[in-house]
Amino acid sequence: MVELYILLILMIIGSVVALEVKDLLSSVVALGAVGLGLCLTFLVLKAPDVAITQLVVEILSIIILIRATLKKGLPMVATGGWAFPSVIGVGFGVVLLLVAIQCFPDLPKFGEPMLRVSQHYLDQGLKQTGATNLVTSVILDFRAFDTLGEVTVLFAAALGVLAVVRTRGRKKLEQAGAIADE
């Protein structure tokens, strides 16, 4: 599990770089490094389905972010001092660490104990659905209703984006200015 901790530390460093660097494009690149680290983490944890999905969605979001930030000289907003935010951040971190020290020993170990329903999936998944990929048999047979909800979420997201940024039915800038002048 050493490689898992190396990946997690790299991801933390990448997120700090993405927050602190002055150039927006460099920030997006650092964010992509964090996403690739997350993909490798899923591979280390033996979840190839999630790793593939994380990789391709990361690439898509990085393309959209780079296209959004590439040509614009968006200024960095840096107002106010640094002392107060630093104190707030360190204090929040200390509180979170104290709570975590109290809570985490009570959590069960990773992967244990196996839930009864998981054991049922492992035993009966191939027999009942015929799908060799057990993840598939869970998300499209045993838990297909959740997948329907996920598809609905994506549908609503696409509808929302198309409704907000539509070109049809929107007033031209001159017209809007004329209306504002009246």
Partner: protein
């Protein structure tokens, strides 16, 4: 940008895109169709298919791609995917309950196995690539709209 102000990127990028875009799309279709025997599945494969179209848009400019595949057509694809998935779920009620796997399970490790799962994956991939492609096109159009204004 070249000097003649042709839309899209340079000749090198266009040639490489012409050679690779369909390979990316075939890989996405492969992942979708083998979702029930190997890792991957409808969502990941659908995103890869959307990435092949986005690849074309980035290299050739949006006019060339939207001429072949308009936004309205993409929306039709997206709605079709969602309705087919819901239809498979509703067909399950005829055999018992919602989302019942009413087709025979077949032999493991074969392409035609696992009942309705590959059909659902095809529907989901249709919906995912159309939805993500529509979102990308909408964001690109918005950016150009703001530059003109």
């Amino acid at each position: 940008m070249s000097k003649e102000r042709t839309p899209g990127m340079s000749v090198i990028v266009k040639t490489v895109t012409r050679l690779t875009a369909w390979l990316i799309m075939l890989y996405g279709i492969n992942i979708v169709l083998h979702g029930h025997v190997s890792p991957g599945g409808g969502f990941a494969g659908g995103v890869i298919i959307a990435l092949s179209f986005i690849h074309l848009i980035l290299a050739y400019g949006k006019e060339m791609v939207l001429k072949k595949l308009s936004e309205g057509l993409v929306e039709v694809f997206e709605s079709t995917g969602a309705l087919v998935f819901l239809g498979i779920a509703l067909l399950g009620t005829t055999a018992g309950f919602f989302f019942k796997n009413f087709l025979p399970a077949g032999e493991p490790f074969h392409l035609f196995s696992a009942g309705t799962i590959p059909l659902s994956y095809i529907a989901i991939s249709l919906k995912v690539w159309a939805g993500l492609f529509a979102i990308f096109v909408a964001l690109v159009l918005l950016r150009i709209d703001k530059e003109q204004g």
